[in-house]
Structure formats: C-alpha cells, structure tokens
C-alpha cells in the first residue's frame, strides 16, 4: 500500500523533502513506517525525530503519539510529521 509522508519545520530538514509517497506492506503500522524511514535515513533517524520538542504526528488529520507504534495505517493515508507551529 502507498502512504504519503509530509514533513514541516525542522522535520523537513531531516526528511529532505516536503512530501513523498512510501510503499509499505498491507497492514503496516506507524511503527513499520518509522522503521522504513530509519532504513532510508539511517539508524539515527528515530532519535533525531524524538529530539524534536513538541513533535506532532497526524494520520489523516488525527493526532497520534510517536510511541503508539501499533497504530494501523491504510492505503492512501497521509502521515504528517510536524514540529510545533502557531496560529492566530
């Protein structure tokens, strides 16, 4: 299945792009996505992401916690990695 990954703020520097489509096995979870990214960006990737203060993860617009690695993904999901931003 295909999942779209989007990154904002300092997380974009880690990912190196605003948006990319990632192929995962059917039934993959958030943890599987993170492992995929660790393979692509190196083993330090996960540690770098965890260092981002106030990190937000949204799966199709819903908040999710990084340590909820079992959270299931489905084909067509958009996963957003977001460092804190403000609105007014």
């Amino acid at each position: 299945m295909n999942v779209t990954l989007m990154a904002f703020g300092e997380l974009r520097d880690i990912i190196g792009t605003r948006e990319k489509v990632i192929f995962l096995e059917q039934g993959a979870s958030l943890g599987d996505l993170m492992q995929h990214l660790a393979k692509e960006y190196g083993p330090a990737f996960y540690e770098e992401v965890k260092k981002v203060r106030g990190l937000r993860i949204l799966i199709d617009g819903r908040e999710c916690q990084l340590d909820h690695s079992e959270t299931p993904l489905k084909d067509g999901d958009t996963v957003v990695l977001l460092s804190p931003i403000s609105g007014g």
């Binding site: 904002f8 106030g54 949204l58 617009g61 908040e63 931003i85 403000s86 609105g87 007014g88």
Partner: protein, 610 residues
C-alpha cells in the same frame, strides 16, 4: 496599590469637557482590569438599545495593570464599544506600544463619549491632556497620520491609536491602528470615525509602581522561563503565525467562502515561503516572543511590497477566500488594509462572499463595475478593498459586512454570508474542530477566534485532557473552559496568542497580578476562574439586555448541512443543536433561551444584571 494609575480619563467630545475619575475599589477587586474593567464600565455607562454610530455610544480604551511592566505579552490595550457590525458588546485587542505609553502618561484608560463637530485628536502628554485640530489629517492613511502627528508634536516617540479612511467612511469593520498593530475587529474605527476622532496620542515619563518588587521579579522570571522552554517558542518567535499549513493539514483551512477545507497549491503559502521573504522580527512592548515580521516581496508583480505581517488570518483571508496562492498580493493587501485601517478578516470574507455570489450568478459584472470575480484569480482583491474603504461601487454594499450586504442583495444571498451575529468567521472551518466551532458560534462578539481558542483541537494540546477534534462529547465544557481562561487572562491583558499556546499558566499569571497589585486574591487560580466566568456572563447579559439570545447563536446552514467535501475533515458537519445544548448546560444557562439563569448570575455576583 501597584499596577494601576488609579485614573480614567473621560473625554466628552460634544462638550469638549475632559475630566479624571478614580478607579472604583470594588471594580478592581471584582474585575481585576482589562477586559473586566471594559465590560463593567460599558455595562454601567451604556444605555440599552443605543445606535452604535450615534453620539450615545462610547469607546472605552483600557490598558491592563501589567502594561508598562516587564511582564511578558501583557502590554496591550483593549477597546470596548457597541459594535456597528454586530450590534453587540465588543472587545477588540491590540499590541504595540500604545498601552504602555498610556500608563506612563498616567492613565489606566480613556472613556470617549459624544461626538466632535469637526475632526480632532486627543493628546495625552505626561498627565496633561487636550483636544487638538485634526482637519488636516482627515483622509490620510494611518502611516501618514502617525508621521504628521509626531512631527506636529515634535515628539517622535509618541504612541497612538488612530483610524484611516475606512473608519472615516464608517466602514463597519474599520479598525484602529497603533503603528502596525490593529484593534481590527468589530468596527471600533467606524465608531471613532463617527465621533470625528482621528487619534488618541500618548507620551509619558512615569512608571508603573510594583507592590512587592522582589516577588514580582521572581514571578516574571518564572513566566520568562516558561515561555523560553515552551516547545512552540522557537518557531513562534521566528514565524509568529505565518504558518498556514497548520489548518491545511487538518483540512479546515476555509477555501472558496468556506466550501472546502484545503486550498489548491497550498504549498505556496506555507511558512517556508515566508521564511524567504522575512527581513526581521518585530515585537510589542515587553514581549520576548517578538512574533511580528517585516516581510518584503522580492519578485513578481508585487516586488517591493512590504508589510509587518501578514499574520495567519490575513494569509488565509486573501489567499483561501479566493483560492489563489499569490502571497505577493497578500503582502500588498495587508499593508493597504493596515494603512486604510480596515479589518483583514471581515474584508477578505466579504470578498470571498462576493466571489461565490458571482459564481452562482446572483451578482454579475454589472454589479461589480466590470470586475470578474472568479475563484483562482485574486487579481480584483486590491481594487475591491479600495472600493470598500471609500464606499464606492459594489464596495459600498460590502462595507456593511456580509450579513447586511446579503439582505440588500437578496436572491438567496443570505445563505452564503458566513457570519455569526454579523461578525465574519476567521480562518477555521468549524466542521473540523467542534469546541473551536462552539466558541465561534457562541462568542459574545460574534464569530471571533480570539475569545476562546481551542488549542486542544488545533495544536493537539493535551490540557485539560487530550481530545478528538471531531467528537462532540465534552466540547460544551471545553468551549467554556477556553472562553473563561481567555477572559481572565485578558484582565492582564495577556496576549491571546500566549494564551492559545499555553505559555503562561494561571498560577504564574496570578502570581504576577498579585505581587504587582498587592491583592492576595489574584494569586488564587480559583479566583481567576471565577472572575473569568463573571466577565463572560456579564458580557452575555449586555447582549441579552439588547435583545440577543439563543436565536443569535446560529451558524449559516453550510456547516450543519453540507459535509466537508474532501481532505482530513472529509464528511464532517458541525452538530450545531447538540453542541449548543451541551454548551448551555456547561454554562448553567437556560436551554431554551440561552440566557444565564438567576442562580448563575447570583453565584457570580451579577444579580444586578437583568
């Protein structure tokens, strides 16, 4: 007692009588300051049913007790009045340097009443005051007004709150400008224009006394540490609110007059794009966050255009409303609106409304003076703003706000007027965040986000508990919490952005207020919550006294009848009936009328409010 100057200046423009009044001690204790003083003074001084643009309306400018101190994000003023746009109580807030200067000049606030027979401005100079001729300033933009008044007074550090041509032409969402900060919403500028008052100017050499200097310094240090270590601080202090992606990723970035929740090509208006244009940051008096930015356009048709901003609402307004991601035009529009003294939210919603009417054939080129209003082409925006400011052509209709404009246009236009109580909605689609939407629906000033922002839904803040932004359970209670929190923080007057980001806790805020003033009760968060609820209910009773109630807490049908068509909020509607009932229950208000019960009013010390 520290914090207060114990002096309100009352200015009667009709009689040209200027007089000083001390603060009432009971008002200080029961309402603390800022928004508390504003509603109490407005409720006591204004008769029910008065015309907002008539002589009977008053403009009450109030600086909070913390203004002029080194407490962070608190040197603001609010202006209180009956709004010509909504016919309700209104509170409009501005940062900048005017509030601190007013305190240094010796005053906690200014009550303006009556109307002058010719243009004047008020000069408050270190405890002295006078009305001066402003005929030569009438018609000028706010930038020139600041420059010429400073030259006339030979005082280049004087601060002011002034109006531009929009206020002079009684545009019902004309605002008040201080340097490049705005008390933009609700038409305070139109009320000022109706009174022939061009500006209030202040300069002083005084200082704000502190009751317990060591303890106050400790409390402020606590606040500074909390802000500096807050996860949002780094980004907020660089970009401010120039990050339109945060509502795009939630699918609640209102697009095409609130029909859709994601804009075409929205990557072109992200924070990263503004990073390329930022010249430097700017700040209000005593605010370490410095969320303002000077933005200068470097390429394209609008190369050379600059503004202090635009902030999120303006970016959304002039891009999302017309579905055109040209940020160069938005920067130019932002500067123009600030210079003309007009609210960018109401102006942009009015323009988006006109685009939808044009698309549906309700209006045509013969109505717009030849302008083609087609989504995806924001080209006509600047001309439409100019027509609104000067009440020319179709702009004259839009200048009264979308509620009145829709009534004048007819042909079913009312259903496309996106407003509550006459106030145009800001850049949040209520279908995507139910407590945030409830605040827009029930706010005492109409659909404004600043009086009860829901960071739990928008930023994922887990306090008082994590919430799912789509569910309705607990949202009535949550809207009340956010509204009461904002109300007591605005006694300070703590910036709504600081409040929304949760950067200053009630405990720290209470310590600052208590050690500044010497009033022990202010240190108790439970007391602050009580005052917040008291303020909110008295504001509601001001409106009730003028005939408002449940019938006015109503969204346009779009939000409850049309599911969000696409994106992360796809399929969502706003469950208006259920959410409103839950909110009234949480408030202790009558479920049939939306009016605070006698029991609730007595509990809050408001039994005088009928």
């Amino acid at each position: 007692m520290g914090g207060y100057k114990n002096c309100i200046l009352r200015v009667n423009l009709t009689t040209r009588k200027l007089s000083e009044e001390p603060l009432q001690q009971t008002m200080i204790h029961d309402y603390i300051g800022g928004r508390g003083f504003g509603i109490k003074l407005l409720y006591d001084n204004l008769k029910p049913g008065i015309a907002p643009l008539g002589e009977d309306n008053k403009l009450i400018f109030v600086a909070g007790p913390l203004a002029g101190t080194n407490a962070q994000s608190c040197s603001r003023y609010n202006v209180f009045f009956k709004s010509p746009l909504t016919n309700t109580y209104f509170s409009s807030s501005s940062g900048g340097h005017f509030a601190s200067e007013l305190k240094f000049a010796g005053f906690d606030g200014v009550i303006v009443e009556g109307a002058a027979d010719k243009p004047v401005y008020l000069w408050i100079n270190d405890g002295k005051y006078e009305l001066r001729d402003a005929a030569y300033l009438w018609g000028l933009g706010c930038t020139d007004t600041h420059t010429l008044i400073r030259e006339e007074l030979n005082n280049h550090s004087a601060r002011m709150a002034c109006i531009g041509p929009a206020g002079e032409h009684l545009v019902k969402y004309g605002g008040i400008i201080s340097d490049r900060r705005a008390a933009g919403r609700g038409g305070a500028g139109a009320v000022m224009g109706a009174k022939n008052l061009k500006a209030i100017v202040a300069k002083g050499n005084g200082k704000v006394e502190v009751s317990d200097k060591d303890a106050f310094a400790f409390a402020v240090r606590e606040q500074i540490d909390a802000i500096r270590t807050h996860p949002n601080y780094d980004n907020f202090s660089l970009r401010g609110t120039q990050t339109a992606e945060f509502t795009q990723i939630l699918g609640m970035f209102p697009t095409k007059n609130f029909r859709e929740g994601i804009m075409t090509n929205w990557e072109k208006i992200e924070g990263a794009e503004f990073d390329k244009l930022r010249v430097r940051n700017t700040r209000c008096y005593s605010c370490m966050i410095h969320c303002g930015s000077i933005i200068k356009v470097s390429t394209g048709k609008y190369a050379g255009a600059w503004s202090e901003g635009p902030e999120y609402e303006t970016i959304w307004g002039f891009n999302g409303s017309v579905n055109d991601p040209d940020i160069g035009r938005t920067v130019a529009a932002d500067y123009y609106c600030d210079n003309m003294g007009i609210d960018t939210i109401s102006a942009s919603v009015a323009i988006g409304f006109a685009y939808e009417l044009y698309e549906r054939g309700i209006i045509t080129k013969s109505d717009t003076g030849g302008l083609e209003l087609v989504y995806g082409n924001g080209g006509p925006i600047l001309e439409l703003i100019r027509q609104i400011v000067y009440r020319e052509g179709f702009g004259d209709i839009l200048a009264d706000g979308v509620r009145i404009a829709a009534r004048k246009i007819g042909k079913g236009a009312e259903q496309y007027a996106i407003q509550v109580k006459g106030l145009e909605l800001p850049g949040y689609d209520p279908r995507g965040a139910k407590a945030h939407g409830l605040n827009l629906l029930t706010s005492n000033i109409g659909a404004d986000h600043c009086l009860g922002y829901a960071p739990q839904e928008i930023f994922g803040v887990p306090n008082p508990r994590p919430v799912d932004r789509f569910v309705v359970e607990f949202k009535g209670e949550l809207a009340k919490i956010n509204q009461d929190l904002t109300a007591f923080n605005e006694t300070g007057i703590l910036c709504a952005l600081n409040t929304a980001n949760g950067m200053t806790s009630p405990e720290t805020f209470g310590k600052m207020l208590s050690t500044l003033t010497g009033i022990k009760d202010f240190a108790d968060p439970a007391y602050l919550w009580l005052v917040g609820e008291r303020i909110y209910n008295l504001e509601r009773m001001f409106n009730v006294r003028d005939g408002l109630g449940k019938k006015d807490d109503v969204f346009p049908g779009r939000f409850s009848e049309e599911p969000m068509p696409a994106g992360p909020s796809r399929g969502q509607i706003f469950e208006e009936k259920q959410l409103l009932t839950d909110y009234y229950k949480a408030r202790g208000w009558d479920l049939d009328t939306g009016i605070p019960t006698k029991k609730k009013l007595t509990e809050l010390g408001l039994s005088f409010a009928k």
